[in-house]
């Protein structure tokens, strides 16, 4: 069972929910798919170790074979190859690794080499009931999606997997939540939170993923998010009040369920509810 935690707006408490939910459950995998700014590990004591590199196959041109016909650059949708009358240039950072240029080159002048754009890591020491993986996009690299795809290959579908998705609604979000069984959208009841929640709802509805909402810092702002959820028939899974204690623990990198164990039960109940929704979906 795969559950993603997402939010249109950043900073609404996505990571907090992902980490605390994972710590409330037995035998669970946690994946930090916010590969541009992964933060989950800050809440755990363990060290990380590298599992693999994430590579993109980029073209290498054999200058002796290339006759500057320009077919490769014509084909490339990402302007990653430029051909001048007597010169050919590859821009590896722009290349998506589609392999098209290699296919179309009439001279067979193009081969491919791997370029590392990020890494996958997991917890080094045993972390009890938890298996943790994260992806990390290298600094200066534009494309997050390949790292997210590589990370999700480590999901063990026999287990419960919690996925901390990146903020927003663009391609890295789709890469993260695309084939989830359920999506929890974390928001706050401010105009920005509300606006971005509606965008996120559009995304999950388009992907046809069952979803519910957690309202964080539920006592600031107004009641618009809650009203909206009622009108739209969206379940409000949990409300977390603006608690100084929780904010303090967050700032220090301490998961609040470890200091406020009464919350574990609340997370477990939410999880059970989600599980029954997923089982219903499977039956239908």
């Amino acid at each position: 069972m795969k559950i993603a935690i997402a939010s249109g707006k950043g900073g609404t408490g996505k990571t907090t929910v992902a980490v605390n939910l994972a710590l409330s459950l037995e035998d669970v995998q946690l994946f930090d798919c916010d590969v541009e700014e992964p933060n989950c590990h800050l809440f755990f004591g363990f060290d990380l170790e590298k599992v693999e590199n994430v590579n993109i196959a980029v073209p290498v041109v054999d200058k002796n074979k290339c006759d500057f016909c320009g077919k490769c650059s014509e084909f490339c949708q990402y302007n990653a190859i430029a051909v001048l009358p007597k010169k050919i240039m590859v821009f590896p950072a722009l290349c998506h690794g589609c392999g098209g240029c290699t296919l179309v080159c009439p001279q067979g002048a193009i081969s491919e080499e791997n370029r590392c754009i990020g890494i996958i890591e997991k917890n080094k020491e045993d972390a009890g009931n938890l298996v943790f993986y994260r992806g990390l996009l290298n600094i200066g690299e534009p494309m997050a999606s390949p790292v997210i795809h590589a990370l999700q290959k480590h999901i063990d579908i026999k287990k419960t997997a919690i996925i901390d998705a990146p903020p927003g609604t663009a391609c890295p979000v789709i890469a993260s939540i695309g084939d989830m069984d359920y999506c929890i959208l974390v928001t706050e009841s401010t105009p920005f939170g509300f606006h971005d929640l509606k965008l996120a709802v559009d995304v999950v509805r388009n992907l046809r993923i069952p979803f519910g909402v957690i309202i964080n810092r539920s006592d600031i702002g107004d009641k618009k998010v809650e009203q909206y959820c009622i009108e739209e028939g969206i379940p409000v899974l949990m409300k977390i009040a603006n608690d100084r204690n929780i904010a303090r623990l967050y700032s220090e990198g301490i998961p609040f369920v470890s200091k406020m164990p009464e919350w574990k039960e609340i997370f477990v109940q939410m999880f059970e509810m989600i599980r029954s929704v997923i089982n219903e979906e499977v039956k239908v």
Binding site: G11, E36, E37, Q77, H96, G100, G140, P167, A170, D222
Partner: protein, 302 residues
């Protein structure tokens, strides 16, 4: 013309609140909302749209099922796992590379344009604004950012504005890179939490990678003063100036509820903090812009 990008790495640090306040404080600026996949600035600035530009991102493959013989050659060739075993294209996964169209022996696949969003040139009560709306799950957010920046530059030329203030997206990937390349300075808005610090360090590295000077503002500095000190000593080590520290306050939320910038809404401590932050940022920007050689490049990104 000078360009400033406000970024944060992590979302929710108050970046947009601060950028919107800058809009009301700057007398000769164009505002560019480059946080294109969760654009919020318009909720405060209430732009009146002057021009709309259709934005087509990458193409998407379309299969003519009446021609398809289900040979699966396209599926094997697609490096993005976008073609299912029933030979259907997943439009969200398709990166529009065109390889399937090229390899299909039956000519059953066509690459079609897809509308990926809209960009707008607008006016607000504080001056011109460039912004956009990205379609759901779109690939080309970096390209849309580049288009917004292009529109902002045109607006600045048209209205004779001196500064472009860019609200950047969270993260470190393509849209962030497109938001900061070629600007004179970035302002990183952070908060004293472990996540805030971690993300600050990553975006400072990104700025460094593209050789763009950075300054830092610590928002909500008083929620954890120890962490704030860590940020200050980190900045000192890196030779980065901390240009402002703002207290935790409910003013930003209250102002947001009334669709006002913080400085419009109140004259209190938070607002005066934002005002002196803006003065410092302006000074830094002028200094860095003086050092710049040549014209502002607008860099094209994937």
């Amino acid at each position: 013309m000078k360009q400033l990008t406000v970024i944060s790495g992590k979302g929710g640090t108050g970046k947009t609140t601060i950028t919107a306040a800058f809009a009301s404080l700057a007398e000769n600026a164009v505002i560019a909302d480059c946080d294109v996949d969760a654009a919020d600035m318009h909720l405060i600035l209430k732009p009146e749209i002057l021009d709309t530009f259709e934005f087509t991102g990458l193409k998407v493959a379309e299969i003519d099922q009446s021609l398809c013989i289900k040979c699966g050659i396209c599926r094997d060739a697609c490096r993005f796992d976008s073609i299912s075993s029933e030979i259907m294209i997943d439009p969200y996964e398709c990166e529009g590379c065109g390889v399937c169209e090229y390899v299909c022996p039956e000519g059953a696949i066509r690459m079609v344009e897809r509308k990926a969003g809209e960009a707008y040139s607008s006016t607000t009560r504080f001056g011109p604004m460039a912004h956009a709306r990205l379609g759901i799950g779109e690939e080309a957010s970096g390209k849309l950012v580049t288009l917004v920046r292009y529109n902002a530059k045109k607006l600045a030329e048209r209205y004779g504005k001196e500064i472009i203030i860019i609200d950047g997206p969270p993260g470190t990937g393509c849209s962030v890179i497109a938001s900061i390349t070629g600007v004179d300075m970035v302002l990183v808005v952070t908060e004293p939490t472990l996540s805030g610090i971690h993300d600050l360090e990553r975006v400072v590295e990104v700025a460094g990678y593209f050789k763009i000077p950075a300054v830092v503002c610590i928002n909500k500095y008083d929620i954890n003063e120890e962490n704030s000190q860590r940020i200050e000593s980190y900045c000192k080590d890196k030779g980065i100036e901390v240009v402002g520290k703002l207290p935790y306050d409910d003013i930003p939320t209250k102002a947001m509820m009334e669709e006002k910038t913080v400085t419009e809404y109140s004259d209190g401590e938070f607002s005066s903090g934002v005002k002196s932050l803006w003065e410092n940022v302006k000074d830094g920007l002028s200094e860095h812009a003086r050092k710049r050689v040549g014209d502002l490049p607008i860099v094209h990104n994937p």
